[in-house]
């Protein structure tokens, strides 16, 4: 019997050998796959943590960026107020001088110039600071990842001080003067006694925006970098000069120009909303003004019969005292100028209630999604280059 068993094993020993090798190979392969799986999981974990760290650093940079925008925005508003001041004109007007009409024309120009400068300057400042701080944040992240220290505190100070050219040097002054020339061109044909509705005002702002954007050499959207940053400075270190050049390229890119144009359009819409709100307050708090407006419309009706229909609607709206008719109320340009000037007479102030127009503009630009996306793209590019 044992001999039979031995013969059986002898006849089939090759099968046993082959089976053993196959089983051993399978065990080895299973162990190998397990080890590879563990390595894959560790690699995934490392990638996840790196992404988390970068996201955390980016959010910290964003928070810093928002604080800087609000801090510098306040100074920008002060600069605009200095450049487009109405104090002197008001003092002269209160003395009822001979050249009253000329002064009123100047007041009209200053009011519109100040409003438009606020809209454009706020948008440009927010975009510039987002680009600058996200570029700097990307460099800092790269330094930390590569254990180097290229970006020194002095370099940060110098780089962030470049925006001074816009706020305290000639940037806002040049911008305000350019916008003033366009305001003169657009509003010189509108007399002070012209009756304007809200849609007329929107049309006026649209015309002003088109005029400002039309000049390809001085258009604030496409020539942002010229107003915002100083020209070449030979005393810059190589790395600082490289960062400045990258910033100029970014500000001249289509993305930045597109975001600025979009922000400016939204800014003028906010301005119209603020003006409408002030118009409502004016009409409610000043009954005698309402009477004057109605009388003026009656006179106009007598002089120009073709405006009868709209005038009748306006009169009905006034009689009903219905806020929904704010869009059909007519108001003389001369009475709009105090409203526009009042909206922009104070700078950025987070503690006032309700917020004035510069505060609304700057806050809106800070939370604008397109601007945030632009900043995120800049950070992504420079933190992984």
């Amino acid at each position: 019997m044992l001999s039979r068993l031995q013969d059986f094993l002898s006849r089939h020993r090759r099968k046993f050998i082959v089976t053993g090798v196959l089983v051993g190979g399978t065990i080895f392969a299973a162990r190998y796959a397990q080890r590879r799986f563990v390595e894959f999981q560790e690699k995934q974990a490392r990638e996840f943590f790196e992404r988390t760290r970068r996201t955390t650093h980016f959010e910290s940079t964003e928070k810093t960026c928002n604080q800087v925008i609000l801090g510098m925005g306040e100074e920008m508003c002060q600069a605009v107020l200095r450049e487009c001041s109405t104090d002197e004109l008001l003092e002269q007007l209160r003395q009822n001088p001979k050249n009253k009409l000329e002064l009123w024309e100047d007041m009209k120009i200053v009011a519109f110039t100040r409003l438009a400068t606020y809209v454009y300057a706020s948008s440009m400042l927010v975009i510039a600071l987002r680009v600058q701080l996200n570029l700097l944040g990307g460099y800092i992240y790269r330094d930390i990842m590569t254990e180097q220290k290229q970006v020194t505190d002095e370099l940060k100070q110098q780089y962030l001080s470049l925006i001074r050219h816009f706020i305290t040097d000639s940037g806002i002054r040049d911008l305000a003067r350019y916008i003033r020339t366009q305001v003169i061109a657009v509003t010189k044909t509108i007399p002070l006694s012209e009756q304007l509705s809200l849609s007329d005002l929107e049309q006026l702002f649209w015309s002003l925006q088109m005029a400002i954007n039309a000049d390809t050499r001085r258009d604030p959207n496409s020539r942002m970098s010229k107003y915002l940053l100083p020209s070449q400075n030979p005393s810059h270190s190589p790395l600082l000069q490289k960062m400045v050049n990258e910033t100029l390229d970014l500000l001249e890119s289509e993305d930045a120009v597109g975001v600025c144009s979009h922000n400016v359009s939204r800014g003028f819409v906010l301005a119209c909303d603020a003006i409408a709100e002030s118009m409502g307050e004016t009409l409610q708090h000043l009954p005698q003004a309402k009477v004057q407006t109605q009388q003026e419309q009656s006179v106009k009706f007598n002089q120009a019969g073709s405006l009868g229909a709209s005038t009748s609607k306006s009169q009905n709206g006034l009689e009903n005292n219905n806020l929904l008719n704010i869009n059909r109320v007519l108001l003389a340009l001369a009475k709009l100028i105090p409203i526009i000037s009042g909206l922009t007479s104070r700078g950025f102030d987070t503690t006032s209630r309700p917020h004035n127009l510069p505060t609304q503009l700057l806050t809106f630009y800070v939370v604008a999604e397109k601007t945030k996306t632009l900043g995120a793209n800049v950070y992504e590019s420079f933190s992984s280059a």
Binding site: R14, F37, E42, S60, T64, M72, A79, L192, D349
Partner: protein, 292 residues
């Protein structure tokens, strides 16, 4: 003539009314904080006539700002939510009130100096924020290491758990297959046949084949030694260790290729990979299996 005069008067009245609007709406570059619309409306007509009204208005403005500051989140925020009312913000508010008072008393130069100072504050704020971001970035590094360690331990544990369900069964089966009782007789028989075969076919074999077969024979001797060292009273751990050694030797054996065809033929013609010619040749002179 009379119509022209009438239009002039109308425009004059319009402009005077607008000028009053400037006073009522608080227009102009006043550096003072803005008052509420009611206060402005009430104080407007009397502003230029009564100097005391100015101070009353300022007192109301200060009271309003106090309420705003200490009201905190409860204060109505309007369209856009205000910034958080942390102590730094309150200090900033007080600073702004002080600056507003200073601006009321001083001229343009003071404003310029204030602007430069605030500008430097913004730069310092930016540097501090970036530094804080960098420090936050450095801090998660240790956290990352700890999390990676936890992840590795967890994954390895899971891996072991998965493997343990499968590997012990296979190891047990292999131990049975490669045990001495089953494998040792086959190895011994091979070792008996290898010397005879090499001696008989020394002239026919190439040097390469001869060397290969020699190595196979030596490896079989090694395996025989390992199998002979096994004993029934060995512990499970020792058995597993010896099993692994035998398994490695078997794997090495495959690297030396096929055993000699004649030796395979002598074991019988039932192997599927046997050589047909060898099978036929072995049929005649080879020993026959005993039949029952």
């Amino acid at each position: 003539m009379s119509e022209e005069k009438k239009n002039g008067d109308e425009l004059n009245d319009l402009l005077d009314s607008a000028l009053q609007d400037f006073d009522k709406s608080g227009a102009g570059d006043q550096k003072e904080p803005s008052a509420s619309s009611d206060v402005a409306t009430n104080a407007g007509p009397e502003g230029s006539e009564d100097p005391d009204a100015f101070f009353i208005e300022q007192a109301k403005v200060l009271a309003d700002r106090m309420n705003t500051l200490f009201g905190g989140p409860d204060t109505p925020s309007g369209d856009i939510p205000p910034l958080p009312q942390d102590p730094d913000q309150i200090m900033a508010g007080f600073k702004k009130m002080a600056e507003a008072a200073a601006l009321t008393l001083s001229g343009e130069n003071s404003a310029t100096d204030e602007d430069v100072s605030k500008y430097s504050d913004s730069i310092s704020q930016a540097l501090k924020g970036l530094q804080e971001g960098s420090e936050n970035l450095a801090a998660p590094a240790s956290e990352n290491d700890i999390a990676s360690m936890f992840g590795s331990l967890n994954l390895e544990g899971a891996g072991e758990g998965d493997g343990n369900m499968f590997l012990p069964f296979m190891e047990g089966m292999m131990q049975s297959l490669l045990s001495a009782e089953i494998l040792l007789p086959s190895i011994r028989e091979l070792l008996e046949k290898y010397p005879k075969y090499l001696e008989e076919n020394d002239a026919k074999l190439s040097a390469e084949d001869k060397e290969r077969y020699q190595k196979q024979m030596e490896l079989y001797k090694v395996i025989e030694g390992h199998l002979q060292s096994e004993k029934t009273e060995d512990s499970a751990a020792v058995k597993r260790e010896k099993f692994r050694v035998v398994l490695d030797d078997m794997r090495k054996l495959q690297d030396y290729g096929q055993p000699p065809p004649e030796i395979l033929a002598e074991t019988g013609g039932d192997l599927p990979f046997g050589d047909p010619t060898a099978g036929v040749a072995a049929g005649g002179p080879g020993p026959q299996c005993p039949t029952m």
